[in-house]
Amino acid sequence: MKKTSLETRDLTIRFGGHVAVNAVSCAFQAGTLTAIVGPNGAGKTTYFNLISGQLKPSAGQVLLNGSDITSMPASARTHAGLGRAFQLTSLFPNLSVMENVRLALQSRAHLGLDLWNVWNRHKALIERAEQVLEDVALAAKRDAHAAALPHGDQRKLEVGLLMALDPDIFMFDEPTAGMSVDEVPVILDLIRGLKKQTHKTILLVEHKMDVVRELADRIIVLHNGTLMADGDPETVIASPIVQQAYLGTAPVEEAAA
């Protein structure tokens, strides 16, 4: 039995009258990649926001390695080992690609409150940042401003920030959306690499079913904020609810890939 690293209990959030995430209880295990699927607006991103602390739940708890982190701010959760890449790319636009990654590493090294040394005294951070940029295939653009990158490269940098944080729990929110077909493998390889490290827990929101099918150890389905299905990929994908509500009555492109 694998160890449960992250758990949500009855996690709920309401916006006005709308229940975006409705009493979701779910446990995630280290060494497992769980894909979260569901129609648009099902509450996947909101669920992530609740786990990583961008939103406060109306009810329910988030537990990390057994301890309750529901009242922790987002920054503290990051230090506790939760890492997150965003669906809508969120970078430091006027800083260089290198600096974007370095800042993440610096946070991980708890150096933020160092007022006295010059930033570049911490050589190890710089070397590590270069390594991360290699990994996400952005080494050539290390000095460009993040804002000037094309959309696909921005997505890669978004993932790069997450890699730099090197958390125990990785949360990817549609990491490959808008990325060109030849770039997608870069990200997929990274995720595959992570899967090899058995103590990491990976959560992945993804609409591309081929990707999900290939990577996921387990799939959970959110629909209208409720947890509708949970199980191994084959069963879940085959279930009528997923076929109808998510993939649509006429499954289209799947065969081609």
């Binding site: 990583s52 961008q54 701010p73 987002a74 920054s75 503290a76 990051t78 230090h79 997150r84 965003f86 969120s90 970078l91 430091f92 636009p93 006027n94 800083l95 600096e99 370095r102 800042l103 993440a104 610096q106 946070s107 991980r108 150096l111 933020g112 409150l113 160092d114 007022l115 006295w116 040394n117 010059v118 930033w119 570049n120 911490h122 920030l161 944080l165």
Partner: protein, 353 residues
């Protein structure tokens, strides 16, 4: 060695380096190069504004916080010295006590303001600080038993710093070694020290986080920086440096009043200098202060000449009258925001790498 002193944040441009060296030399040898009460006064003001503006740059240029309460801290520093020297009589002890109390008060106030309002939207914060600063100014003029009200406080300094004190009987290289001379050099070395300290702060890992927060606070929080802590700290640091600048001002003027250190005009001046010099560069504070204060003090003289030559033309003499110097300063300012959005330093740096 110099790299280390400058925290590896060099001017990065020949011309800029040259400009900075000229300003540094001018300030270092001002009592010898430009004897005369007015010139020395301008030089001292430049020193004070370098500290004040650099501290504001820390807040605005690096952290992206627009605050109008910066003069409040400047004023606290100046009042600290003024009130202590008035109450306790002239002496080094009064300076120390006044300075320390002022710093303590600034720490407390900036912490409160920071915690209270750094959670609200940036533009909201700007306007709230504006209101707070104006209330503080009212308060200062109301507490007239302490602050001397609208009239302010005139006070004396320790014997050694008073104009009557003479270090040597004779002039040395054209300068009288009097109390003013000593005060000037105290200000000069304080400025150098404080500036280097601020340069170090913005180039520390902490300073880098401030820039990240300026760029995208949401993301900064998400990668693990508690932004309330960083913003508040940046606020507190800026406040403390501004307070020290205020102490310097009071020591130089041997006077303080609400208009001298708390007025909104000074706030406008600070903003102008930051922008003219170049936001988020630190060196901008040096270039900006030097240019702005020279303009402020000598523009009127220039205009006197200009309006003389424009005599007889319609409207022009009225526009060029030395009394309208603010008009031209305002126009210069608007133009500089347009054409030098990155300020002198930014312009020089991109001009020829």
């Amino acid at each position: 060695m110099i790299r280390q002193l400058l925290s590896h944040d060099l001017p990065r441009n020949r011309l800029l380096t040259a400009v900075l060296l000229v300003i540094l030399a001018g300030l270092a040898f001002a009592p010898f190069l430009f004897p005369g009460a007015k010139a020395l006064n301008v030089a001292a003001k430049i020193l004070i504004f370098i500290v004040l503006v650099a501290s504001y740059d820390l807040l605005l240029g690096y952290t992206g916080i627009v605050s109008f309460a910066h003069t409040m801290f400047f004023g606290i520093g100046a009042y600290g010295i003024a009130i202590a020297s008035t109450r306790m009589g002239p002496g080094w002890g009064s300076l120390l006590v006044g300075g320390l109390c002022a710093v303590a008060l600034s720490l407390l106030l900036s912490l409160i303001i920071g915690l209270f309002s750094l959670r609200v939207r940036a533009i909201f914060y700007a306007m709230i600080t504006l209101a707070v600063a104006s209330a503080f100014q009212t308060l200062a003029s109301q507490l007239s038993q302490f602050t001397g009200g609208e009239d302010g406080l005139n006070f004396k300094l320790p014997e050694m710093l008073s104009p009557a004190f003479q270090l040597a009987e004779e002039q040395v290289l054209g300068a009288w070694l009097d109390g003013k001379f000593i005060t000037y050099y105290i200000l000069f070395f304080t400025t150098v020290l404080l500036f280097l300290a601020m340069l170090r702060i913005v180039n520390s890992p902490f300073g880098r986080v401030l820039q990240a927060i300026r760029e995208n606070d949401f993301r900064a929080e998400a990668i693990g920086y508690r932004i309330v802590v960083f913003r508040t700290l940046s606020n507190v640091l800026a406040a403390v440096f501004a307070t020290l600048a205020g102490c310097m001002l009071a020591i130089w003027l041997r006077y303080n009043g609400p208009d001298t250190s708390l007025s909104f005009e000074i706030m406008v001046d600070i903003l102008l200098i930051v922008v003219i010099g170049g936001m988020g560069t630190m060196y901008g504070a040096i270039c900006g202060s030097a240019i702005f204060l020279l303009a402020q003090n000598y523009l009127q003289d220039l205009m006197r000449i200009a309006s003389g030559t424009a005599q007889g033309l319609p409207l022009l003499p009225a526009l060029l009258s030395p009394d309208r110097w603010l008009l031209w300063l305002g126009i210069l300012f608007i133009l500089s925001v347009y054409f030098f959005p990155t300020g002198i330093v930014g312009k020089l740096r991109t001009w020829r790498q």
